[in-house]
């Protein structure tokens, strides 16, 4: 058969997603993370996930909650 013109066999660019998706456009979280976020009043759309593929983990929510607490109150 006709040999295809060899393309540079470069490793695909690791496109690191800013935020993992659940497959329907919403951020990927687990129910326990959602619960934790609700408890701490954390808006998940502002959290960067540290898990595989940008998964938001419990620690990310906890960190966001801490950061919010540490942040100066808007006067």
């Amino acid at each position: 058969g006709p040999a295809p013109s060899p393309r540079p066999a470069a490793k695909p660019e690791p496109k690191q997603p800013a935020q993992a998706q659940s497959g329907d456009g919403t951020p990927y979280v687990t129910p326990l993370v959602r619960k934790l976020a609700a408890e701490h009043g954390v808006d998940l759309s502002t959290v960067t996930g540290s898990g595989i593929g940008g998964r938001i983990r419990k620690q990310d929510v906890q960190a966001a909650a801490e950061a919010a607490k540490a942040a100066p109150e808007p006067s």
Partner: protein, 460 residues
């Protein structure tokens, strides 16, 4: 008919990984072709998961009849009607195969029957006809490997493929390999009445599992009359008049009617045109990143051709992932450790996440806590007369990192553990939900209660 046709996606191989990719892509609006040289359903449906589990269930029924007097049930076990077993097994397979063919149609996937080859990054050739695909998924699966110089003759030396088609219960068997496939066949044949010897080079059976699981399997197999030679290396096999004589490096020989070779499975990628197309391969496995992209843009790989766990549901997960990735849904990459693993021998072994050894290696000895709940304390396990445990591995003050189960029917319990592991539950989050009584799932509940510092039915 479809020669020269253009598709959004061409999937090469119609096994678990391939058809899952095809169905999901089609749901997402893509025009999909599925190329299959044998039968849709692949290894799992025709030569793997399903027929072996049918045999294992027949084995369970045989054992249950054999031991029925212990429960006050008067029944006599008279033996195995191999034709009958095969009819049952083939009946299950063909019913599911029919269903799957229906799904191919319902999903409007174009099935191209024949052997496919990549002849360009976007082009697949089947029987001389060429098809263009915006994207291509490699899903050609795996086949049994053997050892150098050990030929599968299909008569006396078998792979799982021939073993599944056997027309008799062998009087004696040597099973080479104590991994999943080896112990499953050993378990079936023992229940069917054969003398079984397992030869495993590593120091323990099911060596990929937590050490505690291996111990229970080995002990129970011993009680069942299965001989396991672990740390024993195969050196050769001789055909004899009535079978084979298997010799080991330590000088021992074991005679048997047949030898089953279950030393692993290798990828099916030779002759697929990967090299010419520039698709990088490592020892036969297609190289991918965590998004299952190969070195050629638009070409993905899923299932057993990708190095890692060789499991049908990993194939499903891969297939769905790739279809969603192509559709731009940006799905979350699959964590192999989060995929549950079940070995369906008697006793069953099921696990998800890390073994104790892996957790210690990753976090250090002082950061890992474990708890093993003995099924002796579980009412339903007592009723089933099974032995085993539910073992948890957790990060100290942190989430559950691994769940390991051994015992009759525990394969059905690992799906709960899958949620616990993947959702990074803390023991007390599980412990607050009391499990239904009396079930074997309570053993999982009790283990979480104990790790949460509030043991209920735990003996010191």
């Amino acid at each position: 008919g479809d020669s020269g046709a253009r598709f959004d996606l061409i999937v090469l191989g119609g096994g678990s990984g391939g058809y899952a990719a095809a169905f999901r892509a089609s749901e997402l609006g893509m025009r999909v072709a599925l190329v299959e040289k044998d039968k849709v359903g692949g290894t799992c449906l025709h030569y793997g998961c399903i027929p072996t589990k049918a045999l294992l269930h027949a084995a369970e029924v045989a054992d249950s009849a054999r031991d029925s007097a212990q429960l006050g049930v008067k029944a006599t076990f008279e033996g195995i009607d191999v034709d009958g077993v095969n009819k049952y097994k083939d009946g299950v397979v063909s019913r599911l195969y029919k269903g799957l063919q229906g799904l191919v149609k319902a999903n409007e996937v174009t099935l191209i029957e024949g052997e496919g080859r990549l002849v360009g990054p976007n082009t697949v050739e089947v029987d001389g006809a060429r098809y263009e695909g915006r994207n291509v998924v490699l899903a050609t699966g795996s086949r049994s490997s053997s050892l150098p110089g050990l030929d599968i003759d299909g008569e006396k030396v078998l792979s799982s493929y021939e073993a599944l088609a056997l027309d008799r219960v062998p009087s004696s068997v040597v099973v080479l390999g104590g991994g999943v496939i080896g112990v499953e066949f050993a378990s079936v044949w023992r229940s069917f009445g054969a003398d079984v010897t397992i030869v495993e080079a590593l120091p323990r059976l099911v060596p990929a599992e937590d050490e505690a699981a291996s111990k229970v399997v080995e002990r129970t197999f011993r009680k069942r009359g299965i001989t396991a030679k672990t740390g024993a290396r195969f050196s050769g096999v001789q055909h004899t008049d009535d079978g084979v004589s298997v010799s080991l490096e330590n000088g021992e020989t074991v005679d048997a009617e047949i030898l089953l070779v279950a030393v692993g499975r290798g990828p099916v990628t030779d002759g697929l045109g990967l090299e010419d197309a520039g698709v990088a391969v490592d020892r036969g496995f297609v190289t991918t990143d965590e998004r299952l992209r190969t070195s050629v843009p638009g070409v993905y790989a899923v299932g057993d051709v990708v190095h890692g766990l060789q499991l049908a549901h990993r194939g499903f997960a891969h297939g769905i992932f790739v279809a969603e990735d192509i559709a731009g849904l940006n799905p979350v990459p699959i964590d192999d450790a989060g995929i549950p693993r079940v070995t369906y021998c008697d006793p069953e072994v099921a696990s998800v996440g890390l073994t104790e050894a892996q957790a210690v290696e990753r976090l250090g000895d002082d950061k890992v806590e474990t708890f093993e709940y003995n099924l002796a304390g579980n009412g339903k396990s007592q009723i089933l007369k099974t032995q085993g445990f539910a073992k948890l591995v957790r990060e100290k003050d942190g989430p559950v990192l691994g769940v390991h189960l051994v015992g009759a029917r525990v394969g059905e319990l690992i799906s709960e553990a899958q949620l616990i592991y993947n959702w990074e539950a803390l023991p007390h989050e599980v412990a607050s939900l009391i499990h239904p009584h009396p079930t074997q799932s309570e053993a999982l509940g009790e283990a979480h209660l104990a790790l949460a510092g509030k043991p209920l039915h735990v003996h010191g």
